[in-house]
């Protein structure tokens, strides 16, 4: 370690809420190195990174030292800190859309980023901005584009261009690809790697995704509950994890392989889509999709954002209008009466938004029973308790509110509500993508055992190929509103070029 660029020594951050958010974290970063900080939500990885640029709320008290080029970042005045931000340290955020001003062109925003720290003329700054656009692989015509005219991946390139505008020596990337699709994620990681090689910039990569770590990082720090659990090169940590927590974390990551899904006998279809198209005004989100799911079968519906997968879910649940035919247990969906609606269960992506914040857990689970059955009083409570038991939650949680629960617990409540009426069909729309890996693994296990016991047909929607492979009997790949490939052998022998690209972009943790 000859030229240490950033050296973090015994940093603790306390928000005054009992236990510190970060305690005694130390690490160092050399020039041109990519250091990944991994951990689940609440591990303190983001807090540590934010503390370096003084971006924590004023209630936080920070102790320790963070030396960047010999200066302690924590002892800088606001003016000095402003000099460091954007100049010596660039920042890439998770949500590119919210990191950019929607009413200014991206060109003027890059020009602004250049001019904040360099006193150059408007023309020079403009030339530099065009150069930066080329550097991040965007066509120069996009200079006059507004953020809403660009895709998520392009916007993240703009954010990266702004972050490297003043040739910083350190780039902090906080979950830079989490909000992006798989194929776009691969491109952005390629760009970051390329920038490191060309500009020699060191990258502090904050992520929860082991695949991203394996793809980009040189060294890795594993954090849990505010402490550093393990440090080492990616190879060391992934192949021979020393700590049990690291091993659990790595074991929870689902791997994608090229095996064929086990064949099963076809059953009578519970859900049948024939020639379904969905349009929003002139925009056609889904065109001519035909699918079937038999009783007890799990169909994995895979697609990137904008592929129309959520539109299909909304159509099946009767939330949007469609043309073509959708039947559940032989009945057309748009003509379903209230009594039949209980035959469809629904599990949402974000468990916090899917539960009424002002209703107790028991009330939320009881809701479908109140609407569709005559269970009341003690009988209802008993049924709710048995559902809580089925999703492996303690009965004592019945009178709690959603904000008192963890993410995994909330999603279990969502599943309990969805299976309350013993549905024929369960629609799960990205049910685990908001969860940490270890939690995701446990929720998926629960989901599988419930599916085996209750034998409902399941439309499992996800962008995560590994999760889908783990759970599904059959897979359909959706691209731009069309099913491009379907069957049990999609992973083993992909036929369609898009499927091949999707599989190639998927990151694995094998090193």
């Amino acid at each position: 370690m000859s030229d240490v660029l950033l050296s973090v020594e015994d940093v603790s951050v306390d928000f005054g809420s009992g236990s510190p958010a970060v305690s005694e974290v130390s690490f160092s970063l050399t020039a041109g190195e990519v250091l990944a900080v991994v951990g689940e939500s609440g591990s303190g990885k983001t807090v540590t990174a934010m503390s370096l640029l003084g971006l924590l709320p004023s209630s936080a008290s920070v102790t320790g030292r963070a030396l960047l080029g010999g200066r302690d970042l924590y002892s800088l005045s606001l003016n000095e800190l402003r000099e460091v931000r954007g100049n010596e340290v660039g920042m890439v955020f998770q949500e590119p859309m919210s990191a950019l001003n929607p009413v200014l062109t991206i060109g003027s925003q890059i020009v602004e980023a250049v001019r904040v720290h360099c006193s150059v003329s408007r023309a020079e700054a403009r030339a530099r901005a065009l150069e930066l656009l080329r550097l991040v692989g965007l066509p120069v015509e996009r200079f006059k584009a507004y953020p809403h005219e660009m895709s998520g991946g392009q916007l993240q390139r703009v954010v990266i261009a702004m972050a490297v505008a003043n040739e910083p020596s350190l780039l902090i990337a906080d979950e830079p690809t989490t909000a992006l699709d798989v194929t776009v994620q691969a491109e952005i990681l390629g760009l970051l790697r390329d920038l490191r090689d060309r500009l020699g910039v060191a990258i502090l990569l904050i992520t929860h995704d082991m695949g991203v770590v394996a793809d980009l990082a040189d060294r890795v720090i594993v954090m849990n509950a505010g402490r550093v659990v393990e440090t080492g090169t990616v190879r060391q940590v992934f192949q021979k994890p020393a700590q049990p927590y690291t091993r659990t974390l790595l074991d929870s990551v689902l791997s994608l392989d090229s095996r064929e899904l086990p064949a099963r006998a076809p059953a009578a279809p519970v859900l049948r889509l024939s020639g379904v198209s969905i349009s929003y005004g002139k925009f056609r989100a889904v065109s001519d999709v035909s699918l079937e799911i038999g009783r007890g079968e799990v169909l994995g519906l895979v697609g990137e954002s904008g592929s129309g997968k959520s539109s299909i879910a909304a159509a099946v649940t009767g939330l949007v209008r469609y043309s073509g035919g959708i039947t559940v247990a032989g009945k057309e969906v748009c003509a379903l009466r209230k009594a039949d609606r209980g035959r469809i269960g629904l599990v949402f992506q974000d468990p916090l938004s899917s539960l009424n914040p002002r209703a107790t857990v028991g009330r939320s689970i009881a809701q479908p029973l109140l609407l569709h059955t005559s269970l009341r009083g003690a009988e209802l409570t008993a049924k709710v308790d048995s559902l809580l038991d089925a999703v492996q939650l303690s009965v004592s949680l019945r009178d709690r509110y959603p904000h008192e629960l963890s993410g995994g617990q909330r999603q279990r409540v969502g599943i309990a509500r969805a299976i309350a009426l013993d549905p024929d069909l369960l629609i799960a729309d990205e049910p685990t993508s908001a969860l940490d890996v270890t939690v995701q693994a446990r929720v998926l296990d629960l989901f599988r055992s419930l599916q085996r016991d209750l034998r409902f047909a399941c439309l499992f929607i996800s962008h995560d190929l590994a999760v889908v492979q783990h759970l599904s009997d059959r897979v359909a790949i959706l691209h731009q509103g069309r099913v491009v490939e379907e069957g049990a052998s999609v992973f083993a022998a992909p036929q369609d070029p898009y499927t091949q690209r999707l599989l190639a972009s998927a990151l694995t943790v094998s090193v």
Binding site: T46, T317, G318, L319, L336, R337, K338, A339, D340, R341, G342, I344, L346, F348, Q349, D350, L352, S353, S354, L355, N356, P357, R358, A359, S364, Q367, P368, L371, H372, Y401, H403, R417
Partner: protein, 304 residues
Amino acid sequence: MSTPVARSVPAAIRSVLARDRWALAGTVTVVVIGLVAIFADVLTAIEGHDPYTYDSTALDPATGLPAGVLGGVSGEHWFGVEPLTGRDLFAIVVHGARTSFLIGLAATLVSIGLGVLIGAAAGYLGGWVDRVITWSADVFLGFPYLVFMIALGAVVPVEFPRALLLIVVIGFFGWPSTARIVRAQVLTLKERNFVKAARTLGASPWQVFRAELLPNLWGPVLVMATLSVPGKVGLEAALSFLGVGVLPPTPSWGRSISSAIEWVAVDPAYLLFPGLALFAVTWGFNALGDGLRDALDPRLGAKR
């Protein structure tokens, strides 16, 4: 990146009273005047007067002004007496609190009730219902309602209970502002998955409103209600001031203030007491409402 935790309404009220001294002072003011209104008969019985009996002995026979200093304040008449009639001012102010509270609270109830129902219908149902309601709200907000109320006061027969008329009219004209805020809230709530979950289960709009929307609307509704009470109390006083409010001899702060204006040069104390009472109620509800808003609206932040 933690989402703001939805605090329950009673917990928010408790915390605001413990933390915010102005809100606490406002609450105490409102509660004290509320108790005065409820126990008006008891209080005036203790003092030994009622707001209706003329008493020329308390007046200066030469001028018709109250005998004694400060409008006749004495152990006998705590707030003095009314000029020309000699009616006890304490009894009038205390019974006037009844009128103000009754009309202010009942009209608020009417306007908030209408506003929540109409606003939620507009937000949740959308389409032409939303268009018609939004359009009507714009019309009502721009309507010269004071002129309308004055005209109505002149037309409606004297036998019709005045308090009821004021409650209905003031309450009715209050719905658009409530409906607008509720509509905006419902529009965001509608996109949350728990509402979608209820809809896909086949819950009717009324079931969704009762079980999913209403519990999430209590906070803003309570703040709106508290902040709109002083406006309603003031409107009642204004109408009574203009002579189209509650009819004499029912005591009303607005009418007392109106007649006190004519005497302000020679008997300023007559204006002072009803004026102070009106000020105290208005201030109290505003202070309480501001505190509640700080506590219930996560966007404003708890730190100050």
